[in-house]
């Protein structure tokens, strides 16, 4: 019990060191622009279909599920605003981040883990390529920047899904629908949610890299790295979300 607690703390400690190394390395040249773009493509563009499908379904389902309650109160006209609000403030960021934790974090964990196990990271080291810079910084940075963009897409597609959901029961003009949404939104709904997603992205990338980079030798540890990357990243997303909501609540 005490040993596992100590293990957890030492994990958190080395993860913190790992993360702080990111900020040190990111400002120092050389910059691996090409690898960064490649990672952006792999992380952002390749995750888009998954995020799009989830986003659409979330919007649709949320609309259909909230409808009966709002109808009870005779506030059916609030449906678009409510769906958009919950999508943008909470659902789209968190669901997208979880999807990314599942796809990206585990992918990075497995990739770096297998590179570690098959000595590819050592090979980089001995050919004087900084593997942290080449593998880790590019991935974390790509994650940090791509996850927010994926969330924008999830927001937009979720709103489209909500429109589809509303049209199951009634006929609402799309322009009217959008106006209702815009009317119910404020900067306070969009900006904190967006800032939050950068943290989600950073942690998804960081945890994936950390777990992969520190995989022990042996093929088994690759699977372990991928698995624990997903679990840890998902958990940290909820923790960040809680902290972010509290901070937002505190200041506004």
């Amino acid at each position: 019990m005490i040993l596992s607690l100590k293990n957890t703390f030492s994990q958190i400690g080395s993860a913190t060191l790992f993360a702080s190394r990111f900020f040190k390395e990111i400002i120092m040249p050389p910059y691996e622009t090409k690898e960064f773009l490649k990672q952006c493509y792999a992380i952002g563009y390749k995750s888009f279909p998954l995020v799009a499908i989830t986003g659409f379904i979330m919007g649709l389902v949320l609309t259909i599920q909230s409808r009966p309650t709002l109808v009870t109160f005779g506030a059916e006209s609030w449906l678009p605003g409510m769906v958009a609000l919950s999508l943008i403030r909470e659902i789209a960021p968190v669901i997208t981040a979880l999807i990314c934790a599942g796809k990206i974090s585990s992918g990075i964990g497995a990739e770096l883990g297998s590179m570690k196990v098959t000595e590819q990271i050592d090979a980089m080291e001995v050919s004087a390529i900084n593997p942290y810079k080449y593998l880790v910084v590019t991935r974390i940075l790509a994650c940090t920047l791509m996850v927010p963009i994926l969330v924008f897409f999830a927001d937009a597609i979720g709103i489209l899904g909500g429109y589809a959901g509303i049209n199951i029961h009634g006929d609402v003009n799309f322009r009217r629908y959008l106006t209702q949404i815009i009317q119910s939104l404020e900067f306070l709904d969009v900006i904190p949610a967006t800032i939050k997603t950068f943290f989600f992205g950073f942690f998804i990338g960081m945890i994936g890299c950390f777990k992969g980079f520190n995989a022990s030798n042996g093929t088994e540890s690759v699977g372990k790295a991928a698995n624990s990357a997903v679990v840890t990243a998902s958990l940290s997303i909820f923790i960040i979300d809680m902290v972010a909501v509290q901070i937002t609540d505190l200041f506004f």
Binding site: T118, E119, Q120, A123, E125, A128
Partner: protein
């Protein structure tokens, strides 16, 4: 009966040769009680191929990983090009690493990249101002050195074990190293492919004028490539000499290697 040649100074043998790698009293312990290296002393001279023989777990790989700074020893001194590797900063160490090629046991090709990218990455990491054409030429040249210029657009997963080793070798060669460290270059390959690799090692030695340390337990490879052989036992140098000298050695431990070849 035991003719231990511990702490033998190679300089005394041949004073004309300049040592390029010097290791003195190297110790390394893993996990608190697993002492892998118990005071290794060795010297590699310029233009010399040193073969380190030893059974699995005798600390061969750890020794050469210490040379390139992948593993930090607990105690001892490692001098490469007359510089103490252990006291160098990261940047200085990287300057030395560029001059040392390292062929990993598994070849360690970057799985996500094609052969071309594998080679180009290593090259451009150090020569960032090269034009794409120059990079292409250098990559082709390195691949021609290992005789695999037609594999340039393949992915590592499409290559056989022998080809991987050769591409790995090409990747180390592209930086034109002065020292090449081979970590079990023939392990896991059939005898014919092993022979090809051994020939390639010899070929490179003559063409590029490199010095090497070759870690192996494959006597055929050792016989072909070795200028000098060291036998490692339980973390210390047990015996050293040329292939011919060791062949006549009466020591049981040394004999066991040669007998395995004869069988």
């Amino acid at each position: 009966m035991i003719k231990e040649k511990k702490n033998s100074d190679p300089k005394s043998k041949d004073k004309n040769q300049t040592p390029i790698i010097e290791i003195k009293n190297l110790h390394k312990t893993f996990g608190g009680d697993n002492e892998v290296l118990k005071g290794i002393n060795l010297t590699v001279n310029k233009g010399e191929d040193l073969v380190i023989l030893g059974r699995s777990g005798s600390g061969k790989s750890v020794t050469i990983k210490c040379i390139v700074g992948l593993i930090e020893p607990d105690q001892g001194e490692i001098k490469v090009f007359d510089e103490n590797v252990l006291n160098l900063s990261k940047e200085e160490l990287n300057k030395i690493r560029v001059k040392i090629g390292f062929l990993f046991q598994s070849a360690a090709l970057y799985d996500s990249m094609s052969v071309r990218e594998n080679l180009a990455l290593t090259l451009t990491a150090h020569k960032r101002d090269l034009s794409p054409n120059e990079v292409e030429n250098e990559v082709m040249e390195a691949l021609e050195n290992v005789g695999l210029s037609d594999a340039i657009d393949k992915m590592p997963s499409e290559l056989s074990g022998g080809m991987r080793k050769r591409i790995g070798l090409a990747r180390t060669l592209i930086l034109k190293p002065e020292i090449i460290l081979y970590d079990e270059p023939t392990t896991g390959l059939d005898t014919i492919t092993s022979r090809e690799i051994s020939e390639l090692i010899l070929d490179i030695k003559h063409k590029q004028k490199t010095s090497s340390i070759i870690i192996t337990h494959d006597m055929a490879c050792a016989k072909m490539t070795a200028d000098r052989i060291m036998v490692l036992k339980d973390g210390v140098i047990h015996t050293e000499g040329t292939y011919e000298e060791l062949e006549k050695d009466e020591d049981e431990w040394v004999r066991s290697f040669f007998e395995s070849v004869k069988l």
